[in-house]
């Protein structure tokens, strides 16, 4: 390790001090890790000896020589296990850091490859040091500790819609594809092993069933490897979900095949009955796993309904319930992976409706963190175990295996796609098929399953392991490294980075209902019909049970809208009002451009507000622009809300309450045209104090005024920025005072549309009032009088 980084140092790191320090830390950690176990071999005995001596002597009670009190002693055994675990985790994370410091390495070589190499080096170094390589690829450790976080992360954030839309295809690939692979590879391997009659080798001893077992181990596409590689190539959603979904769902098949062949390998034959039982077992394993996961998911959702007072432990429920789902499924030899996926997918919509925003962030980042560490550790351990593991290299076996894996995958994908395309609307093109076939990576699960084999029953276990490792290395290194350039070369569609817009959401919903309606008119009970039924069932019964409070009735569109608002408000607050644009593109369009110019209706409330000259309008806008840098940048609904927010903040912070009689107040009240009730236009006109030189008004239409959206303060949106609510609450007691400056909560608004304009006007004036510094571009002197 020191040599490797050392050679890179001059080229890549330059002379940056922090990076050198990091390397130093890395080296120290590593040395400590390797040296301490060696050094500690002797000292614990010493200290142990001391202790026993002391105890013995004390027991005797007399006749002991007083030793010096041990000021400093090393007791490594006490902390050995946690220390080593922490050391590994630290090493893994530092490695991850290190890769990204090297500029172009991470774009050429996928991380998984680098980590395996690191593992190889670590393993090699440990072996060189003469120490025994720790059995890191302990199967229990892998299946119980390292795999669940990755799967949970995948399952919780699984995009449900594309997954369900392509479920048929995914299941075909997962079940039929894996079966085909297993039998093809196993069978042909057996055939290959049996040839070469003149040159009998150890291969002849391998029987059919172990070959099939080997085939079933090696045929499963590995979710860890797929995730690791696909995450970096940003491929379009369809292909991603196809390969990834397949890697998740083939677990059931793998479990059944593995157990089936393992059981009967000793006996040597599998009868038809066993085969039949195997099929039933598959259904039990798959559906049972999903059921277990769903049950735990519902429990988690139900629990989260009551966590409103103990927000801190909300993430804990998500993690613990999911983990227990996995363990319960594993207990019954059901598919733990499917249980985890089902649990995460089932609980997510309800949990997200119940938990606080902070908990949501916590869950997200904890899952990402754990899965990242797990993944790193898995690859490193793979490298270490490769160095350590007993190997039995057999050219024929290994090369035939690698070739067969590739061939089987290609044939399987092509054949299945031909059948699947008959039932799909969006057909899979040849390019898609190529990526699906090429993306079939094998990984650590195959290795662990191989490791699990009992050496007593399987004499050729070592050969199997060697072959498995070779295939893993081949797929991860060769396929993993070349898939990115191939994707570029073939111009495969990439992931759309665009944020989901509200228009798309509206129309997705609209389309759902439209298609359901058309199906109903046709009298055809297609899958829109059933989806609609499921949604209605969900809304009517399930949501009521599992979601707390008002949110249970919230339709999806509104939930989406609130989420979007919330995101933008938070972005805004985080950006601190800086120039950086939260939205995708700058636009000077604001609400005023959209609100229709109202022709003067019979009773226009706006007429109460005197006309604002164009010049004044410009001044106001300039002030707004300079002091609220965001005004120009707001391109959406949050424009209004952020204006309000900023105004409230300024008001709250800078402006002392003005006496009710001050001219500004009367002016404001006048212009706002109301105290608490809406006063008809005619009455207000009479109130105007015309000679006031500072009298100004706002244009009657809402064009020049950012309208304040009623929705923000709606009590049904608990997710609204709490800041707003606080300010509003702070304001409440003052409302009754005849200040006319307060922003009334919309629930008290008398008319649906009119108050908005009036409030907007009030808002603007308040803004004028509280701005102590009009800013550099306010070049008119007349701006000054606006200030208190």
């Amino acid at each position: 390790m020191p040599s490797r980084t050392g050679s890179h140092r001059p080229a890549s790191f330059g002379s940056s001090l922090p990076e050198r320090a990091l390397l130093l830390v890395l080296v120290l950690v590593f040395l400590q890790g390797s040296v301490l176990p060696l050094g500690a071999a002797s000292s614990p005995d010493v200290s142990h000896q001391d202790k026993t001596d002391n105890h013995k002597v004390e027991a005797q009670g007399h006749n002991y020589t007083k030793k010096a009190f041990p000021v400093l002693s090393i007791d490594y055994h006490y902390i050995q296990t946690p220390f080593e675990i922490s050391l590994w985790v630290l090493l893994a994370s530092l490695m991850k850091l290190g890769f990204h410091l090297i500029p172009r390495l991470s774009s050429i070589v996928p991380e998984s490859c680098l980590l395996i190499v690191v593992g190889l080096l670590v393993g090699g170094l440990i072996k060189l040091a003469g120490e025994q390589v720790p059995p890191v690829m302990n199967t229990r450790l892998f299946f119980l500790c390292l795999l669940p976080p990755i799967i949970l992360d995948a399952g919780y954030f699984l995009p449900i819609r594309p997954f369900m839309e392509n479920l048929g295809t995914i299941l075909m690939f997962a079940v039929v594809g894996t079966l085909w692979n297993a039998f093809f590879i196993g069978g042909l391997l057996y055939a290959v092993c049996q040839i070469q009659p003149d040159n009998p080798s150890s291969l002849h001893q391998i029987e059919l069933l172990p070959c099939l077992l080997f085939g079933s181990i090696i045929s499963a596409v590995d979710p860890v490897a797929v995730l690791a590689v696909f995450e970096e190539i940003h491929i379009n959603e369809l292909l991603h979900i196809l390969v990834f979904g397949e890697s998740l769902l083939n677990d059931a098949v793998t479990v059944v095949l593995y157990h089936l062949f393992e059981e009967y390998s000793g006996i040597g034959t599998v009868s038809v009955l066993d085969g039949f039982l195997g099929v039933i077992s598959f259904l039990v394993v798959a559906l049972g796993g999903v059921l277990v996961g769903a049950i735990y998911g519902i429990l988690a959702a139900f629990t989260s309904r009551f966590t409103s007072h103990t927000r801190v432990i909300e993430p804990l429920f998500v993690f613990v319930y999911s983990y227990m789902a996995y363990l319960s499924a594993e207990m019954f030899h059901l598919s733990g992976i499917m249980a985890l996926i089902a649990c995460g997918a089932v609980m997510r919509p309800y949990v997200e409706a119940n938990i606080s925003h902070k908990s949501h962030t916590t869950i997200k980042y904890f899952l990402k963190m754990w899965s990242s560490v797990s993944e790193t550790l898995i690859f490193i351990f793979l490298g270490v175990a490769t160095v350590d593991g007993p190997h039995n290299w057999n050219w024929t076996f290994v090369t035939v295996t690698v070739i067969l894996c590739l061939v089987a995958r290609v044939i399987g994908v092509v054949g299945l796609t031909y059948v699947i395309n008959k039932f799909r609307i969006v057909k899979l093109t040849t390019k898609d098929q190529f990526i699906v076939a090429y993306g079939g990576l094998r990984g650590a699960i195959a290795f662990s399953l191989g490791f699990l084999l009992d050496p007593a029953h399987f004499a050729m276990r070592e050969m199997f392991l060697t072959a498995i490792i070779t295939v893993i290395f081949f797929t991860v290194f060769v396929q993993g490294m070349t898939i990115k350039p191939l994707v570029e070369l073939l111009a495969v569609k990439k992931k759309q980075e665009a944020k989901r817009s509200i228009n798309e959401e509206i129309h997705t919903q609209f389309l759902d209902h439209l298609l359901t309606g058309i199906e109903d008119i046709c009298g055809h009970y297609g899958h829109h019909h059933w989806k609609d039924k499921l949604n209605r069932f969900n809304k009517k019964y399930v949501k009521k049970c599992l979601i707390a409070g008002e949110r249970s009735k919230e339709p999806q569109l509104i939930a989406f809208y609130h989420k979007m608002e919330m995101k933008q408000a938070i972005e805004l607050v985080e950006s601190g009002g800086g120039v950086k644009l939260p939205a995708a593109m700058p636009s000077t369009v604001s609400m005023q451009n959209i609100q229709p110019k109202k022709p003067p209706p019979a009773l226009p409330p706006e007429r109460a507000l005197p006309q604002l000259s164009k010049g004044r309008e410009e001044e106001i806008r300039k002030i707004l622009r300079s002091n609220l840098q965001r005004t120009r940048q707001r391109v959406d609904i949050s424009y209004c809300k952020t204006l309000l927010l900023h105004v409230e903040m300024n008001n709250y912070l800078t402006v002392p309450s003005a006496p009710p009689d001050s001219p500004t107040i009367t002016r404001a009240r006048l212009a706002s045209g109301r105290d608490t009730d809406f006063k008809p236009a005619q009455k207000q006109k009479g109130d105007k104090i015309s000679p006031d030189p500072q009298a100004y008004s706002v244009k009657p239409t809402s064009d020049s005024v950012p309208t304040i959206q009623v929705d923000l303060a709606s009590p049904q949106s608990p997710d609204s920025v709490n800041l707003m609510d606080e300010f509003r609450n702070a304001r409440q007691p003052e409302q009754d005072e005849d200040r006319g400056l307060m922003m009334k909560p919309p629930s008290e608004a008398k008319g649906p549309k009119r108050p908005e304009d009036a409030e907007g006007a009030k808002d603007q004036q308040r803004l004028m009032r509280c701005l102590s510094d009009p800013g550099p571009s306010a070049d008119e002197d007349e701006d000054e009088p606006f200030l208190p």
Partner: protein, 217 residues
């Protein structure tokens, strides 16, 4: 077959823009048509209204209206029918055909535009070629109509936000006193580009490659 002779002209018309439709599917649709119309030759709005499954659909009215909208008959007329015959019924249904493997890029474009046009017509109730803010508000209100009071309050805000988005995407730089009249068809196409309408807006029943499913009797 007697039926095929009777409907050969219908088949001919439809096949001109739905080349891969099968006779069996037309026959099934015809059976359904007869069922809906009570064995008459035309369907009225009341017939469609009385379909029980449609009762829970929030945009029921718009869907029914779409069948009677002359703009969906591809003949550049405006207005609406009082009753429609099987031919017009089929014409509306043809908007929901899926693309096949053989559909070229150009044909996909045409299909996409056609489907978007159908949606546009559903929103543009006064047939003036633009979706105004009021019309869009109505759309969102209808979508949320089954959600009670919460829905109605939020509908306006959502529609406004959506409109703002359309405006800012299509006309990024507007002067403060300019007014965005409404969503034109081009703008509509632009904002829904990402949804790939030709693959999404289809009924499986009309895909001739799948095994024909029975129209519910």
């Amino acid at each position: 077959m007697g039926v095929s002779v009777a409907y050969s002209h219908v088949v001919g018309v439809w096949r001109s823009f739905f080349p891969t439709v099968s006779l069996e599917q037309i026959i099934n649709l015809h059976k359904r048509f007869k069922q809906l119309s009570g064995n008459e030759d035309t369907i009225s709005r009341e017939n469609l209204d009385s379909i029980p499954a449609l009762a829970t659909n929030p945009i029921r009215k718009q869907i029914i209206e779409a069948f009677f909208d002359k703009r969906n008959q591809r003949q550049d007329e405006v207005g609406s029918f009082h009753e429609i015959g099987f031919e017009q019924f089929l014409m509306v249904m043809s908007h929901f055909r899926p693309p096949t493997l053989k559909t070229t890029e150009e044909e996909r474009e045409v299909m996409r535009r056609e489907k978007l046009r159908f949606l546009f017509n559903m929103h543009d109730t006064d047939s003036d070629g633009t979706i105004t803010l009021d019309e869009y508000r109505k759309v969102v209100e209808e979508l949320l109509s089954k959600s009670g009071a919460i829905g109605l309050e939020a509908a306006k805000a959502i529609a406004d936000a959506a409109m703002l988005e359309v405006a800012s995407t299509n006309v990024p730089h507007m002067e403060p006193d300019e007014f965005y009249e409404g969503i034109t068809f081009e703008h509509f196409e632009q904002i829904l580009k990402g949804l790939e309408m030709e693959s999404r807006m289809h009924i499986r029943f009309l895909d001739v490659n799948t095994t024909t499913m029975h129209c519910g009797k």
